[in-house]
Symmetry: C2
Subunit: 204 residues, 2 copies
DNA sequence: ATACAATTTAACCAACTGGTCAAAAGTATA
DNA sequence: TATACTTTTGACCAGTTGGTTAAATTGTAT
């Protein structure tokens, strides 16, 4: 088996992920997934039994791969400000590469919240967040960031600012186009702006 | 016709909006909408021809009602900081009341971006944003907010911070539950935190 | 070459979906 | 009350959907 001639099992997951992200669970069709994978529809059921199980497998595969990268960004050398910048660079790169993923992801976990428990138990989220949280608390004690900063809020703020322009893209882009602002340029500006905005608001 | 005995046309829109928000366009069933409205399925088509047209009518009705309120918050007396606080209070009240709306809204406009043009032309968005933008620029010239603040980014930042905890609720809530943080409390804390966070980062 | 298991397919199916239609029920007008 | 209209309904339909099955094909070990 060569590297680009994947086996059916793997081809199916790739095709399923692409179709599910594009159309959502309800809008996706098993036939379309089979076509994209270049196989017969019955083979989908041979390997993954049902649409539900195929979705879960594809969802968890892609989500695990993406989320595990997020934590890596904080396991780098440097100050807390540099780490925030590292995370945002990685986050923005991934968002740029997978523009449709955020809306898909948040829609599906809202439709079926059990997915989150399965995703979290795959990655070692608790432990990683614990470390991250302690790091922020240390920076507070060291007087590097403001002592009234609540760490959970700060983390949510950083992700919010980074991901929302991709979730709300159609409406923000349309409004901005009326003011002749290019959305590509807008997104690019945000790369440095967000870090600046966050750091401004937390530095002691 | 009494006030709570609505006519069929109106009952249908209310039922449609509820089912569409709950299940999304693809997941919603005409039969379920008819049941919720307490009428026959054929009557849906009698009034609104097709699922597509019914969806568009229900979507635009609800979205227009919500969005028009947003602009009101900025047409109040007081400093720019008070206006930001006003907007965030209203925004958070609406989000609390319609928790499932954001994910529905952003999913549907991603699926069908034409909806945005129709929504924007209904409200007088261009004019309202122009006014709002000029107001921010004036505050910059008056030295009340930092002169390097880009207004479009600031507006997106404010909305991002406010709405994201409702979009990402399932995953944030699950992670926080592992650290014994109540999500209700977390959302409540954000009401004052967001305004503080934004003002910290823009005040001159 | 043969037997056996794993993979892949074409054909099929029952359930469901959005949508139609002709008839019935209701309502106003003369 | 007879007439013309709008509103509401039950029954129905064609197309689509996820899923099944038995047979064919391929791979593999003996």
């Amino acid at each position: 088996m060569s590297e680009n001639e994947l086996n059916a099992e793997h081809k199916i997951i790739e095709a399923a992920a692409a179709v599910f992200v594009e159309k959502g669970y309800e809008g996706a069709r098993m036939q379309q997934i089979a076509d994209k994978a270049g196989i017969n529809k019955a083979l989908l059921h041979y390997y993954y039994r049902s649409k539900d199980l195929l979705f879960e497998k594809a969802f968890l595969t892609v989500a695990s791969s993406i989320f595990s990268k997020f934590f890596d960004a904080f396991n780098t050398e440097g100050s807390i400000f540099e780490k925030i910048e590292n995370f945002l660079t990685l986050h923005q790169d991934l968002l740029f590469k997978h523009r449709k993923y955020p809306v898909f992801f948040f829609n599906e976990i809202t439709r079926k919240p059990e997915l989150i428990k399965k995703l979290i138990s795959r990655l070692d989220v608790s432990e990683k967040f614990e470390k991250l949280s302690q790091q922020f608390e240390q920076e507070k004690r060291d007087g590097i960031i403001r002592s009234d900063i609540e760490v959970p809020h700060l983390m949510v703020n950083i992700v919010s600012l980074s991901v929302f322009p991709y979730i709300g893209r159609p409406i923000i882009q349309e409004i901005m186009s009326e003011f002749d602002v290019s959305y590509e340029k807008f997104l690019d500006e945000r790369r440095s702006m967000i870090a600046q905005f966050v750091i401004n608001s937390i530095k002691a």
